[in-house]
């Protein structure tokens, strides 16, 4: 009978020994949710009835080709922007209340094909617009380490439920740091795979050229197991890469001898919290002590990344969110004529951050401004990408902070959008370049708030990223600490 904090790897062992562990693990999580989620509010929707039949079916499963699957019997929670057929999927927005997708996202199909149980839906910033999970129509999620603080965002619910042992692991999405930043703030592991590694089919789009689905987990190895399962070419996603997927768990070896690690000087600048800087520099030293070769590098266009992001991402978002108009699904405000229906539905349906981004995106694409904003942004994006291309000629992995500060107070940045946007200053460049990156716990502040370190690698080189992250994790104990709830 499983107890306490469960990992994918641990639960798989238990299930191999005794099939009833599937049921007891789900029950354990369900109990935990009933006990703590009124405080954490990590879930947007959770209902035992949803997975009971699945637990039943898997418990009775005899076919060894099924019972041998990597996630056989493992419950996985999902950010509420991943479409599950028959489950209300809202992106934490009023405008999608009542929307029930008639199809499964490709990652859902892959999870199921690998034996996983779709467990619950996690809270998030509305349409993934935010870094604090405060813009949700369900209300804010709290950080399990300090309930007065944010869990980060936008995949804050996914990070918080894993940190609070309300889930074994979860999927999130990352457009500018939305997996890595909450992972860092909640003390869990979060991975943004290479753009194109994981199919976006069924992920409700924010910034289509930046979005990637990825795991939030308690260990690097669990994150590697989940990345294995969800990766791979999908003919339904034109931007999905037709690249071989290696077994990422085999990259999880405690060996970084000779690994070339770069510390970009532009990531250690004013605005970076002293405690965060210390923890991240200690992480670099730790790797050096394990045989890695740490060098200083430069990514000269880093300071422009946030500006590029808030042009490119909002432009794509403004177009992606046009379809929420009350015609086919979700919320419709009663109106006597079409134009009123549009204006009223979108006024009442969207929260203020969504409106802000839709307006900004509409503006940067509008006649007369396209060249100065959108086109300019796409050109500077090229410069940022080139910085990384150049850096990866010198190093194998880039080590940086994830978030400039540990978790901030709920409400602290909601009145200042720009301050909120700068929360993602160290995670955005990887999305703009499309490269893989992982956040791993690397320390705690004096106030006992988790701090994460980021490892980024070149396109489709998740193996090197996992190797560095795993070696570092295994050389430290930060991932073993648990919040008290």
């Amino acid at each position: 009978m499983p107890q306490g904090s469960l990992t994918i790897k641990g639960l798989r062992e238990e299930i191999r020994k005794d099939r009833s562990a599937i049921r007891s693990a789900c029950r354990l999580l369900s109990e935990r949710i009933k006990t703590v989620d009124s405080k954490v509010r990590a879930y947007a929707a959770f209902d035992d009835a949803r997975f009971e039949a699945e637990v039943e079916r898997l418990t009775e499963e005899k076919d060894p080709s099924v019972t041998g699957k990597p996630l056989f019997g493992v419950p996985i929670s999902l950010k509420d922007n991943l479409c599950v057929r028959g489950w209300e999927t809202t992106c934490a927005s009023r405008i999608l209340k009542g929307y029930v997708p008639p199809y499964d996202a490709t990652v859902i199909q892959k999870l199921r094909a690998n034996g996983a149980i779709i467990f619950g839906k996690c809270n998030m910033d509305e349409f993934a617009f935010g870094s604090s999970t405060e813009s949700s129509c369900y209300g804010p999620t709290a950080n399990p380490w300090d309930l007065s603080r944010v869990p980060g965002g936008s995949s804050g619910g996914s990070a918080a439920c894993v940190a609070a042992d309300e889930a074994i692991a979860a999927l999130g999405s990352d457009t500018g740091g939305s997996i890595r930043q909450p992972a860092s703030l909640c003390g869990v592991v979060g991975v943004k795979p290479t753009y194109g590694r994981v199919s976006r089919y069924g992920l409700i789009a924010f910034g289509s050229s930046l979005d990637q689905i990825g795991p939030l987990a308690k260990t690097v190895e669990d994150a590697a197991i989940l990345t294995n399962v969800i990766s791979g070419h999908d003919p339904k996603d034109s931007t999905s890469a037709n690249a071989a997927v290696p077994d990422f768990t085999r990259a999880c070896v405690p060996d970084v001898k000779g690994l070339r690690v770069g510390l970009p000087k532009e990531y250690f600048v004013a605005g970076l919290d002293r405690e965060v800087e210390t923890a991240v520099r200690n992480a670099a030293e730790k790797l050096a002590s394990m045989g890695a070769v740490v060098t200083d590098i430069s990514l000269p266009h880093t300071e422009y990344a946030v500006a590029v992001y808030y042009i490119v991402a909002v432009a794509e978002a403004s177009s992606n969110l046009g379809r929420f108009d009350g015609v086919q699904y979700g919320y419709r405000h009663p109106a006597n004529q079409l134009l009123d229906m549009y204006f009223e539905t979108r006024d009442h349906g969207f929260g203020s951050e969504a409106k802000r981004r839709i307006l900004l995106g509409t503006f940067v694409l509008s006649a007369g401004y396209y060249d100065a904003y959108y086109l300019k942004g796409q050109k500077v994006r090229t410069l940022i990408k080139r910085d990384f291309d150049h850096a990866f000629k010198q190093v194998d992995v880039i080590l940086t902070p994830v978030s400039p500060t540990p978790a901030f107070k709920i409400g602290e940045r909601t009145q200042d959008p720009l301050a909120m946007y700068l929360s993602d200053i160290f995670t955005i460049p990887m999305n703009l370049a499309g490269i893989p990156a992982i956040s791993v716990p690397c320390g705690f502040s004096k106030g006992n708030l988790p701090i994460g370190v980021q490892f980024a690698a070149k396109h489709f080189d998740e193996e090197t990223m996992f190797r560095a992250a795993y070696a570092f994790e295994q050389g430290t104990d930060f991932h073993k600490r648990k919040p008290e709830l």
Partner: protein
């Protein structure tokens, strides 16, 4: 048109490609299914769904571009055109903006005055929208079956000067599309649609006047009528010193006028940007050349061949090639043994007219190319006269019987027996003393009259050459 003004016309034609599935998803791209039955998450634009381009549609698009003498882009991309309307499920249409599939083509059209070259600015690929049906006061309903059906948009240069040229351009364009074989080109089903841009300017002026866009043109003749109306309206306005506004007007076919349509997007700011959900496409010149080789014979080449191989006049050839199937029918007649010129004459001066009067098309008529060839053979070998041939053809269309049977049953076989003809000629001479007299006094016309009377006496069966000869002999 007023003598002092000329009109400048450009046409935008949307043609549906007859692929099995839609442009970006596997839904059937068929006409006439139950409302919303041919839909899926992609063409409904459901959140999270993504487009993947239909390869066949892309190849059809390139073939159309080549048939219109366009340059096919080596590298192209798709863009989003953003606007709100209930028939547009994603609130953007996937189209092409600054890197279209092709550009810089032309089409040659046949006018009475001769050939004219009309430039084609660009031909690009895009997805169709659904259908919004207005249902009186209560509201409107939407059917997304058409949403996502592949379209090529073909934009002409403003090279067209008259409504007749516009009509000829559309006819020629439709012929090319039919020959390529990638569209039904059926305006009634909406698989071919046309919008027109028209402005006027004083003759001799080189700058363009204010452009008015006309929509709701449901047939080629409606295009012609709408342009005639709109040009007259603009000239009238200009002469009264009124301003012509840049606007979109709807053609009302019943009332035969154009009316201002309110703009559906106040500022027409479509906020085009590259579609991030589709990757760029590159088309190598080898690929283009392979597709060019796969093209079937096009109308212009066929016309040349008809002139060269069959000895037809330019005009006759251009009529026959206008419709691919008509051209095929003509060639089948020739293959079945009919001399080309005779076949062309019979088709153009008799068959098409008769079919028109019967309200039939040659696709559905009761005779075949072999039947027509059989009829021509009877004329050729002197069995029946040209005049009888006309009657036989009419019967063939009515009864579907072979020409030989009709000729036999009705006893129309030509009379070549001189004694029979002489008998008839004697009767005619006796009955018409005045014309006989006139002829003898040198009035040639009277002779033709007398021959006609002989033909009449023999119920059209007399061999005309023999009738001539016999009559001449009798009149000395």
């Amino acid at each position: 048109m007023s003598a002092e003004y000329e009109s400048v016309i450009g046409l935008e034609v949307h043609v549906q490609l007859k692929t099995k599935s839609k442009l970006f998803c596997g839904c059937p791209a068929e006409f006439g299914a139950e409302p919303n039955s041919n839909t899926c998450p992609v063409c409904l634009g459901l959140p999270g769904s993504l487009p993947v381009l239909n390869e066949q549609a892309f190849l059809y698009g390139i073939q159309i571009a080549l048939a219109l003498n366009c340059r096919v882009a080596g590298r192209l991309k798709f863009d989003r055109k953003n606007y709100f309307y209930p028939d547009l499920p994603k609130a953007y249409q996937i189209s092409q903006y600054d890197q279209p599939l092709s550009s810089g083509g032309h089409l040659l059209v046949e006018m009475k005055e001769g050939q004219k070259k009309i430039g084609i600015t660009r031909a690009h690929m895009e997805e169709d929208a659904g259908k919004l049906l207005h249902e009186g006061r209560a509201g409107s309903v939407v059917d997304y079956n058409r949403a996502g059906v592949p379209l090529m948009e073909i934009v002409s240069e403003p090279d067209i000067r008259t409504p007749d040229e516009a009509y000829a351009y559309l006819t020629a364009l439709k012929a090319v599309l039919q020959y390529v074989g990638v569209s039904d080109c059926d305006m009634e089903k909406g698989s071919l649609r046309c919008d027109a841009n028209v402005s006027i300017r004083p003759k001799g002026e080189t700058r363009l006047g204010t452009k008015v866009e006309i929509k709701n043109l449901n047939s080629f003749s409606a295009v012609k009528r709408a342009l005639q109306y709109e040009i007259a309206r603009q000239i009238d306005a200009a002469e009264k010193g009124e301003t012509i506004f840049q606007e979109t007007r709807l053609w009302n076919d019943e009332r035969a006028l154009t009316l201002t349509m309110r703009s559906k997007e106040e500022a027409h700011d479509y906020r085009y940007f590259p579609e991030p959900d589709l990757v760029p496409f590159t088309v190598s010149s080898d690929w283009v050349e392979d597709l060019r080789e796969d093209l079937p014979e096009l109308p212009a080449a066929r016309k040349e061949r008809f002139v060269k191989d069959y000895g037809l006049s330019e005009y006759d050839a251009s009529v026959l090639i206008q419709d691919k199937d008509l051209g095929n029918f003509f060639e089948e007649c020739v293959t079945a043994g009919a001399p080309p010129k005779r076949a062309s004459n019979l088709i153009q001066s008799e068959l098409l007219g008769m079919l028109y009067e019967r309200g039939e098309t040659f696709h559905a008529m009761k005779t075949t190319a072999a039947g027509i060839a059989g009829l021509i053979r009877l004329v050729e070998n002197g069995t029946i006269s040209g005049r009888s041939a006309k009657d036989v053809l009419a019967d063939m269309l009515e009864t579907a019987k072979p020409a030989e049977d009709i000729v036999r049953e009705k006893g129309l076989t030509q009379v070549s027996d001189e004694t029979v003809i002489a008998e008839a000629a004697k009767k005619v001479i006796a009955a018409n003393p005045k014309p006989v007299e006139d002829y003898k006094n040198g009035k040639e016309k009277s002779f033709a009259f007398l021959v006609g009377q002989v033909m009449r006496e023999t119920k059209g069966k007399a061999n005309p050459a023999l009738a001539n000869k016999v009559l001449k002999e009798l009149l000395g």
